[in-house]
């Protein structure tokens, strides 16, 4: 993506080459909402909360998206999702999606499972099932992989989880924000290492959050350019419903 075109640029401090920032895929539900001139309903799901002030990530994301998609009204619902995707959190996600009924789910995923040392294959299959379920209901998904931090760079399990997110995004054909690669790139560009992103108390600081919001917005905008109008989000052959519809007993 040419970062020069209007409304589609990253600010100087957040600039990362496209190849290291995202993989794109079609977003038919978002396109449909925009074609119908509806407000775009987003469900942003954080690691636990978003890294950084819980109030400021959704605000920054909304600002970045309205900058990138100037004609669209964006409504963001933000939820933390503590727990592991491989055990239980995927079920909570289904509840959240059913409550919010969004057009698009922006899902930061993997950190908890990495910390809990969940087996990467179990994580990948649970994530894959959850993504397929969301898409089977005509809702788009953008995945955001875990953050880069020097203290985890050599950790094999952590890298396997990051890889698993990428694999699932590829298999399910959903856009991926490669946060790990992007932060790695940005921290290698500065003498201060990751310090200027993670802050003194090593949390994603204001800049880190703003960059993340911009990266997500750019990934969505670029993906939308690949999505032609009139595609029916429900008629996606790649995502058969995995769950047998089942009434509760009794």
């Amino acid at each position: 993506m040419d970062p020069g075109s209007d409304g589609m640029s990253l600010s100087q401090e957040c600039r990362v080459p496209g190849a290291q920032l995202y993989t794109v895929a079609k977003l038919p539900a978002v396109r449909a909402a925009m074609d119908e001139n509806r407000p775009l309903k987003l469900l942003a799901i954080g690691g636990s909360a978003a890294p950084g002030a819980s109030a400021s990530y959704p605000a920054k994301l909304e600002a970045a998206l309205e900058h990138t998609l100037p004609k669209t009204d964006v409504v963001i619902d933000h939820r933390g999702l503590p727990g592991e995707i491989a055990s239980g959190a995927a079920e909570r996600l289904r509840t959240m999606v059913a409550e919010a009924e969004p057009d698009l789910v922006i899902w930061q995923v993997g950190t908890h499972d990495a910390i809990a040392r969940v087996d990467a294959d179990a994580f990948a299959s649970a994530l894959s099932e959850a993504v397929a379920w969301i898409r089977s209901h005509g809702i788009d998904v953008v995945l955001v992989d875990p953050i880069y931090t020097a203290s985890m760079a050599a950790d094999v399990d952590y890298n396997r989880i990051v890889d698993a997110v990428r694999t699932v995004a590829g298999q399910q054909q959903v856009p991926l924000v490669r946060r790990y690669e992007a932060l790695h790139y940005l921290s290698s560009r500065s003498d201060k290492g990751e310090g200027h992103m993670l802050g003194r108390q090593f949390r994603l600081n204001d800049l880190g959050l703003r960059c993340m919001a911009e990266h997500v917005a750019l990934t969505i905008a670029t993906s939308l350019m690949r999505t032609e109008s009139g595609t029916n989000p429900k008629a996606d052959p790649g995502a058969p419903p995995l769950t047998v519809p089942q009434r509760a007993p009794g």
Binding site: S54, G88, R247
Partner: protein, 365 residues
Amino acid sequence: MRDPNAIDFWRGFALVTIFINHVPGNAFERYTFSQYGISDAAELFVFLAGWSIGIATSGRDGRPEPPGRSVVRLLARTVEVYRAQLTVMLLALAIIAGSALLLDNPLILEWHNAGGFFADPIQSVCGMALLTYQLGYFNILPLYVVLLGVAPLFVLVGRVSLLAALALSGSVYLASLVFEWNLPSWPGEGDWFFDPLCWQVLLVLGFVLQGWNRRSDALRRWSRRLFPAGLVIVCLGIVLAVTGIRPDPLIVPEPRLLFTFEKTYLTPARLLHFLGVLLAFAPVYAILAPRIGAMVGYLTQLGRNSLAVFSMGSILSLIGQLVRFQTGGGLLIDVLVASSGVVGLGFTAWFVEWRTRSKSSRARA
């Protein structure tokens, strides 16, 4: 000190199960009953809390104590649980922050929703006092505080009519399911992990059943008759859990929560499954007790000191998670974590009883 009994035994059993389930990914998780049904140890814990309220608010002769005394007793217990929640939260946050500093790893701060606290300490500390800010896996005690807080209402109504107490509770439960009422989280969007408006029904059910059980043996007769139904429900639960078949929340008819399996709202399917488990396992204690004396002794001691054991269990499971994280896990570590936990819980219960004994002997001296 109470003699070993079925209530304390099952409560101890629930406490050990909760401890194991709160170290996600560990090798023993798949051997807990929570993996083989659609309800789990949380239901057991809350139901037994209700049953215990029934016992605590009636005298030795089985007649209810004066209403004023019951209200004060429940108020005292609410304060005690609230204090435990604050202590546990502070320790958990300190353990998370301390590990992040010690291991020089910012990721640890994101654990269990703790990130919000370190990002917005001003709002979060208010939320902590208000119980609206909860850490993942640290959300049972806030539920318990609210349940004990509203328990006097049901206990007082129950003095007039147990059926009326159950009807009131059931109406609040059904309305909460239909209208999706829940208490809000703050700071941060969302709702409580355990919806007190729904979960209160299990506490009141425990209280009411204890009352009926005390008055006549009709309940015992019926539970024996319904034993086969309990078995069928348990088997059905195993099939559903193992196959992963569950209702799709976007496909079920409205009101959605009447049909799904959500833990947050203790949906009817979970409640029904729990009642099935209750029917199927009610006779088990009498069969087991004479055969596994040491185990009964251990679990009932945990059950008698459930608040202290639960609090220590949440701290120990957090430490267990950190140990698994730092060492990379593996069977050896899991055995170590689980066995230290089991010993730690046992020590906590022993310590609380020792302290109580030594206090009362000093008072007598």
